[in-house]
């Protein structure tokens, strides 16, 4: 088949948009289903109303029930507390370590770095039983501290990887000038390195927040008190309690996704760039 250049280009463009459209339909269907289901009451649900039809009246009750009776409000509060403790503390100690690995005279710096990297590939499962046993002895099960301490541990590898990469790109002249002015190592770290690493830290904050907010396995083993559960563990409890009430379940899921959506929309641009930046680091 011989086509003129222009025709070929048009055909190519049409095909291109067709593929994009099909993929976009596949990807949006679950989201639309979620929203449409969450606004339907039980009655409409079982009266045979099509999944794709809009209800006569939006069932706001699903949302209020999920928040209060489904305890999602409590779960979100707990998750927020854990995330707000884990993210800044974790990043701070990761930054300290990355500073030592890149700026201070340290024997075997590369070896120590690789030692820290190994943690990135370990599955949480390897620590589950020991942590459960130790926490049981120390009375740390069902505590916020117990959970965010473990989260910090499992976040260290990635944090050090990203921050070390970034710190290496900060010119050494900056520290040298500060040394001349009589700054101590600690002052250099706080006043020069940390402020200069803002872009890397911002990326880490977002990645860390999402990972912490969404984590299920460790939280399900460490927390079983309904009053202390985080959102993913709470959602599973919620499913256990309201197994087939999909209107309510979808409302719950939608509510749990909203904070993530907000964070995502605010930082979207930065996020996508940051992720690719991390790749190049």
């Amino acid at each position: 088949m011989i086509l003129a250049g222009k025709q070929q280009k048009h055909l190519f463009l049409a095909l291109f948009y067709l593929i994009l459209l099909v993929l976009a339909l596949f990807w949006i269907a679950p989201m639309i289903t979620l929203v449409l289901t969450s606004i339907k009451g039980k009655k409409e649900f079982y009266s045979g109303l099509s999944l794709f039809a809009l209800p006569e009246k939006v069932a706001w009750k699903n949302f209020s029930e999920a928040l209060i009776r489904g305890r999602l409000l409590t779960y979100m509060k707990n998750d927020l507390i854990i995330s707000c403790l884990k993210v800044p503390l974790g990043i701070f100690i990761e930054a300290m370590a990355a500073y030592a690995l890149t700026r201070l005279r340290l024997k075997h710096a590369t070896g120590i770095f690789i030692f820290f990297l190994v943690g990135m590939m370990l599955p949480f499962q390897i620590a589950l039983v020991p942590i459960n046993v130790i926490y049981n002895k120390l009375n740390l099960l069902n505590t916020y501290f117990g959970l965010f301490y473990v989260y910090i541990g499992f976040g260290i590898s990635y944090g050090i990887l990203i921050l070390r990469g970034f710190f290496r790109g900060i010119p050494k002249e900056m520290d040298e000038a500060a040394v001349v002015e009589g700054c101590s190592k600690w002052q250099i770290f706080i006043r020069i390195i940390l402020p200069m690493a803002k872009p890397a830290i911002a990326t880490l904050v977002i990645v860390d927040f999402l990972a912490t907010w969404n984590e299920y396995l460790l939280a399900s083993v460490i927390i079983n008190d309904n009053a202390k559960k985080t959102v993913p563990v709470g959602l599973m409890t919620f499913v256990g309690e309201h197994g087939t009430d999909y209107g309510l379940l979808c409302a719950g899921v939608l509510i749990s996704v909203i904070p993530v959506l907000v964070v995502y929309l605010i930082f979207q641009r930065h996020f996508v760039e940051g992720m690719s930046g991390a790749l190049k680091a």
């Binding site: 593929i19 500073y99 340290l106 499962q125 589950l128 039983v129 020991p130 260290i156 190592k185 690719s276």
Partner: protein
């Protein structure tokens, strides 16, 4: 050349003190890392040598648990097989769809930024939430897929999750929806490293789009492919939440993964020794796969 002030200062200090300063900065991370990861890893290995229900009477059995798993535990073998199937599927499908999306979204067109964000968004949703959404989509009576089939005039219904023949693939499809954005982003970043000059030169030489892609784009993205490959394999070994949320390893253990089997052995059936052994085997497999990757990353840095 004058010595820099930095060096002068370093030379004036005693070696020992210099090292201690660095260790002081390293210490908090080291303490947490040792207590959360390193010690538990060794502790897990220790427990894996015992027959233990988690409460009392630890009975030393040496490598007995390992032997039992490999020779006398069909569910363990199913788990390993499922993890392997999963990894093969991700490398074939997730990688292809991600690359396709990246190539499409690398073109200049109106709404490109929106679509990038749109396809990435599912990967920021909690996997547990994803599993609840898809549980509903697969629901046999009112769920999306079967209702769509009915709307289109077919009386086709399928119990996607409770049929052992389809359940693993149903979970995989849900997972594909959720995670493809991550690999897409990596590929998009990789596409930016492809030399525009080389592409233009090839166009002048008369190479078509497909030829340019195979002979120029792919070789330029070698590193990206290695990274995507490694992250997908690690994710395939670790996959847990979405399986737990959709089938919890059922029906009849047909979707059991190493991760879910470890969990149910340790926390549901109180075979803590056996469950921990599964965790240790997971780590051994991952070490085997990942050590080459880590040394690669360290070298690149």
């Amino acid at each position: 050349m004058l010595p820099s002030p930095y060096q002068t200062l370093e030379h004036s200090m005693v070696t020992k003190r210099r090292d201690w300063g660095a260790i002081g900065f390293l210490l908090p991370a080291l303490i947490v890392y040792l207590s959360v990861i390193v010690i538990p890893v060794f502790y897990s290995f220790f427990i894996s040598l015992f027959d233990w229900n988690g409460i009392r009477d630890m009975k030393f059995v040496g490598f007995g648990n390992y032997k039992t798993l490999f020779t006398n535990d069909p569910i363990f073998i199913i788990s390993i097989k499922n993890n392997l199937i999963w990894i093969v599927l991700t490398l074939l499908l997730t990688m292809t769809v991600a690359l396709m999306l990246a190539v499409i979204l690398n073109k200049q067109f109106h709404g490109r930024t929106f679509f990038r964000g749109f396809f990435y968004f599912p990967s920021v949703i909690a996997p547990i939430a994803v599993s609840i959404i898809w549980r509903w989509i697969y629901e046999p009576n009112f769920g999306f897929i079967n209702q769509l089939a009915q709307t289109l005039g077919s009386d086709f219904t399928q119990t996607w999750l409770s049929n052992p023949k389809t359940s693993l693939y149903a979970i995989f499809a849900a997972n594909l929806w959720a995670v493809v954005g991550q690999s897409m982003i990596l590929f998009l970043a990789g596409l930016q490293t492809v030399s525009v000059d080389a592409l233009e030169a090839a166009t002048i030489d008369g190479a078509g789009a497909v030829k340019r892609f195979i002979h120029i784009t792919i070789p330029y993205m070698r590193e990206t492919f290695i990274i995507v490959f490694a992250t997908l394999i690690i994710a395939g070994m670790k996959v847990f939440d979405i399986v737990m949320g959709l089938t919890a390893g059922g029906p009849n253990n047909s979707t059991e993964m190493l991760s879910t089997y470890m969990y149910s052995q340790s926390f549901r059936y109180n075979n803590v020794g056996m469950g921990t052994t599964v965790a240790c085997i997971m780590v051994l497999i991952m070490l085997f796969i990942i050590v080459p990757y880590i040394s690669f990353t360290a070298k690149e840095q």
